[in-house]
């Protein structure tokens, strides 16, 4: 009795017992009981939970979705501060290591002679490429130091200091280009 209830056979058996069309009902009983029996359960150990979780974690997208943020003056300067800083530092490391390896090739006389022989357009372009990251990193670095000391830590402060950095960078870059 317990097994027929557990398998959900009680209504079918009752119907089979009182129905005139016994053959048809009997077929249904057999079919439904086979279907019920085919359900399988799987035993899991407690540590399998972690395995399943780890499999799910591999499917997850990486966070943060950097590209969903609108570029704003509040934060764009920060990443450009890093990019310009790394660029200038690569130049410092590159030249110093080059001089260390080949002091005869990268001595000041050769470097100045090489740069002096370049066309004016290349010289101006080169000065622009060097002056822009240097001035931006310098002024934006001061902006970061002001933030670190608790100044301009409002949306308005972030914008006004951002515009000040952009203005100072533009002016000093142009001035340095024509030095």
């Amino acid at each position: 009795m317990l097994s027929t209830r557990a398998l959900g056979l009680a209504p079918s058996l009752r119907q089979a017992a009182f129905s005139p069309a016994r053959n048809h009902v009997l077929r249904n009983v057999i079919r439904s009981s086979i279907a019920k029996r085919s359900i399988q359960t799987q035993s899991l150990k407690p540590e399998d939970g972690t395995t399943i979780l780890n499999k799910q974690r591999l499917q997850r997208p990486s966070s943060p979705h950097f590209t969903i943020y609108e570029p704003q003056l509040t934060w764009v300067g920060s990443i450009f501060n890093r990019i310009t800083g790394v660029g200038l530092s690569v130049l410092l490391y590159g030249f110093s290591l080059a001089y260390l390896v080949a002091p005869g090739t990268f001595d000041s006389t050769h470097v100045i002679e090489f740069v002096g022989g370049l066309p004016d357009a290349v010289k101006y372009a080169g000065k622009f490429i060097l002056a822009l990251p240097f001035t931006f990193h310098s002024f934006n670095g001061i902006r970061h130091l002001l933030w670190d000391s608790g100044k301009f830590l409002t949306v308005k402060g972030a914008y006004s200091s951002g515009y000040a950095v952009l203005g100072a960078t533009a002016i000093s870059t142009i001035v340095l280009m024509f030095q």
Partner: protein, 130 residues
């Protein structure tokens, strides 16, 4: 061990996250040192613009050393952010040690250049007007 580690749990979900031991050297002192060095670079750079490196080799040397330390900290922060050993167990340490070697090499190179040649400040000003 693969080159890129996958972001999966170590241990079970009930294990607490591990933290590095608290250290002022890696915390507040490091933070303050970075800021003081960055701030000090402003007057150093102005001085370098105003004077000649050849006449004041000490200024030139201090500026060169400060720029290298400032650069090293910047490179190191980038490695911590983008090539953390948690995700790059092989590549991260390789790049970190490459940076350390490059920094030592750069220090020797700048010292050689400042000692045997005209020095960084003088070089920049001469190249700029070449």
């Amino acid at each position: 061990m693969s080159l890129v580690a996958v972001p999966i749990y170590k241990g079970t979900v009930n294990d607490p996250t591990t933290f590095p031991p608290p250290s002022k050297t890696h915390g507040s002192y490091h933070w303050a040192f970075e800021r003081l060095l960055s701030a000090a670079l402003v007057p150093m750079t102005v001085t370098a613009f105003a004077t000649s490196g050849t006449n004041y080799p000490l200024f030139d040397g201090i500026l060169g050393l400060s720029l290298i330390i400032h650069s090293h900290i910047g490179f190191d922060s980038s490695i911590v952010d983008y090539l953390h050993p948690r995700k790059f167990p092989v590549l991260g340490p390789i790049i970190r040690w490459t940076l350390r070697a490059a920094t030592v090499g750069t220090m020797v190179g700048v010292y050689q250049f400042n000692t045997n040649d005209i020095g960084l400040t003088e070089l920049i000003s001469k190249v700029w007007t070449a």
